[in-house]
Amino acid sequence: MADANPFQDPLRFERRLPPCAVVIFGANGDLAQRKLLPALYRLAFERRIPPGFAILGNSRTEMSDEQFRDKMRDAVARFLEDSPFEQALWDDFARGLYYVAGDLSDPGLYQRMAGRLETIAAERKTGGNVLYYLSTQPSHYGPVIEGLGSAGLQKAPDEGSWRRIVIEKPFGHNLTTAFELDRCVHKVFDESQVYRIDHYLGKETVQNILAFRFGNGIFEPLWNRRYINHVQITAAESIGVGSRGGYYQEAGALRDMIQNHLLQVMATVAMEPSAVFEPNAVRDERAKLLRSIRIMKPQEIELNAVPGQYGPGRIGGEDAKGFRQEKGVDPEAQTDTYSAVTFFVDNWRWAGVPFYIRSGKRMPKRVTDIAIQFNTAPLSLFPSEVSSRPNQLILRIQPEEGISLRFVSKQPGGGMRMRPVSMDFNYGSSFGVRTPTAYETLLLDVIMGDSTLYTRQDMVEASWRVVQPILDYWAERKFDLPNYAAGSWGPKASDEMLARRGHVWRIP
């Protein structure tokens, strides 16, 4: 790589990418147009993209390279967030865009692809490095991986170059299919080549949890069962399922959000410090934490997991449909558009501390945050309702990334009147710079070969092991759904789940 480059200045230069070609399967799709291309263009805008760079798109629609460029230009201009679109820069960037049409189940596609990649390597000087990005429906993962394998495309042409593959979630529909996917991947790729993307881990604030916990001396001593009463992780969306009703019906909130994103977030909050900040060391600790989450028995699930589904309601003065009224949804669907689960971590640090995780659609607002609730002071010196309110540390992931700490202070004037105050740190405004999108961070990482923020197979399996018993238990039962109105904070049963331990959900 750039090892022998005498012009390096790590203090000032941004990380730059080595030359490479990115092959996007499903390039005509939503994710590619909405996230991937805008992220890659933005990296070019920041001068991070090397001259030897190319993108080869694939999907079934017949398009010439030129047509593909035009289509991607429209997508980038439309979906680029808080960055200017520069035509001249685009023209330069677009010269590296190529397209090959074909069905993923057609073995001939991979042969054609191999030919194109060779020409591109010569034309664009990509050094033989190739990143495959699976931005297709999961049912295609198997055929693509096999196709790449049979055309020998997983093998780098020489010692100094590499081949990597990025897989989008979901990594299996359940524990069994997760194993199947893994077997299929490993028939062709070595684990070191595989990058399972969980875009939550690419979010700045999720990364900042590590900096916050392990870069400061004052929090870690408090980060345990002695001082922390419980943790609440909330991922709420205000939108419904929109046009993805058919897909969502088969997934549900527990699968779609908790099994992957939120358990990863929980692992980041609760993991032990790693000895070094290196990809596998950090991932080992995350995986260890996931394996320490207690796997619930049926009688525990009854008390500690609540499915919900939104019925019709009103949001912002407008009528909102119920889930079963959405397009493509079975009117009898038992899908959980909301899930709340109480997890326990069976280790010395966390024994007995509940981790409440909830995620739902059609909530009052879009917000993702983590609230660490500390124990109250052991003795209440000040006779006030306020002073018995516990300290709370809120790690906000979206919409405004930041951290706030809530504590009590004396109000000025006579007497001991208390008032809660909050100390806020806002990620974007405190650093005054634009925060990169999760896809920018993750694409940069994979091309650099840094897998710290990517999920490893043992993590995928560990989180399926935790979630699978709940899914199985729910599948055997018929719930009285819908049980919350669109625009509310979820079903009553979820509040009751916390009330049993004397806790209440915060209103984020």
Partner: protein
């Protein structure tokens, strides 16, 4: 040379005024428990500026005085600080004056204001000797002091000999200095005395340097940097700009002193300083050429790439310098070569 002493200003009095300011800001905020102002401070930022600024009217001249306020306000978002703006108006009449105010902004979707304090001191040259004592009383406790001296000439004033020891970082801008060699020698002396010196003329060439590094990431050039024998840097100003000197010295710092570096005029005035950089050696040729205000073109083995080079504001430049913790060894090596 000075005659009547100006009315004294006292640090304590200014601090008292600041305290009153905070109280009144607090009162303006409602009783709603989640609001209130947040006072933030991570350093003392002392900005010294001569008024009106000297210098030409070309694009390379320092920004106008009104910009200082804006630049400081912009910097506050990333580096909340107690900002002290020392304005030195030209003239011989004794003058020493101070006022305080707050810079506030509402970053959290209107939940809470963040405020930083700003103190403005005006002192003519004859009154400058009174300033160090005031500054000593005004620095925020336990936090570093950064001195940003906008006008190189000010550093010559004896008062700055007393202020410099308080600083952990000195920021200057060599873009418009009159005798670059002497000036750079002065920076070297300060640097070797243990003060970290940052020069915005150096900061401005970060992107040039980064582009050179990027050239040698290219497959065709990887590992070939050591083959470079000569480097030509073309500039568009009448005199050799410090930026070009830095760039040339940097190449030598990276590749060894034997590399031939030529600095020459590009032949035509442009609204930017560096016009072109050509690196050549046995079997190696690469160039970076400024195409317009916002972009350069990088070329190697017939392959060209356009790179964004947006014009950077002073705030962006200072921000880059403030983001560096500890010494900048590459800059120190370059300074030693000049």
């Amino acid at each position: 040379m000075s005659t009547a002493a100006p009315a004294p200003i006292q640090a304590e009095k200014i601090l008292k005024e600041l305290e009153n300011l905070w109280i009144s800001l607090g009162q303006q905020e409602g009783e709603d428990e989640s609001t209130g102002v947040l006072r933030a401070c991570s350093m003392t930022l002392l900005v010294a500026i001569e008024e009106p600024p000297f210098g030409g009217e070309d694009a390379a001249a320092p920004d106008t005085r009104a910009d200082v306020g804006e630049t400081v306000a912009e910097l506050m978002h990333d580096y909340p600080s107690r900002a002290i703006v020392l304005r030195v108006p030209m003239g011989d009449a004794p003058l020493l004056d101070a006022r305080v105010f707050a810079q506030c902004w509402m970053p959290f979707g209107r939940r809470q204001q963040i405020c930083c304090e700003q103190i403005e001191i005006s002192a003519t040259r004859p009154s400058l000797p009174h300033v160090p004592a005031v500054i000593r009383g005004l620095t925020a406790p336990d936090l570093p002091l950064v001195l940003w001296c906008r006008d190189a000439d000010l550093l010559e004033a004896p008062a700055f000999d007393q202020i410099l020891p308080l600083a952990s970082l000195l920021i200057v801008d060599s873009r418009a200095v009159r005798s670059p060699r002497q000036w750079l020698a002065k920076l070297r002396t300060l640097e070797s005395g243990g003060l970290r010196v940052a020069d915005l003329a150096w900061t401005r060439i970060t992107r040039w340097r980064e582009s050179v590094a990027q050239l040698f990431d290219h497959v065709d050039l990887r590992g070939l940097a050591r083959k470079i024998e000569s480097v030509t840097i073309r500039y568009s100003t009448p005199d050799v700009p410090v930026a070009a000197m830095y760039l040339g010295a940097w190449v030598r710092a990276c590749l060894g002193r034997e590399v031939g570096v030529t600095l020459e005029q590009a032949g035509q005035a442009m609204p930017w300083v560096i016009q072109e950089m050509v690196l050549e050696g046995a079997g190696v040729r690469a160039s970076i050429v400024r195409r317009d205000r916002n972009a350069v073109e990088m070329e190697t083995s017939g392959h060209s790439t356009r790179l964004q080079f947006q014009r950077l504001t002073d705030a962006e430049l200072v921000r880059e310098e403030l983001s560096i913790r500890g010494r900048d060894e590459i800059y120190e090596r370059v300074l030693d070569l000049l």
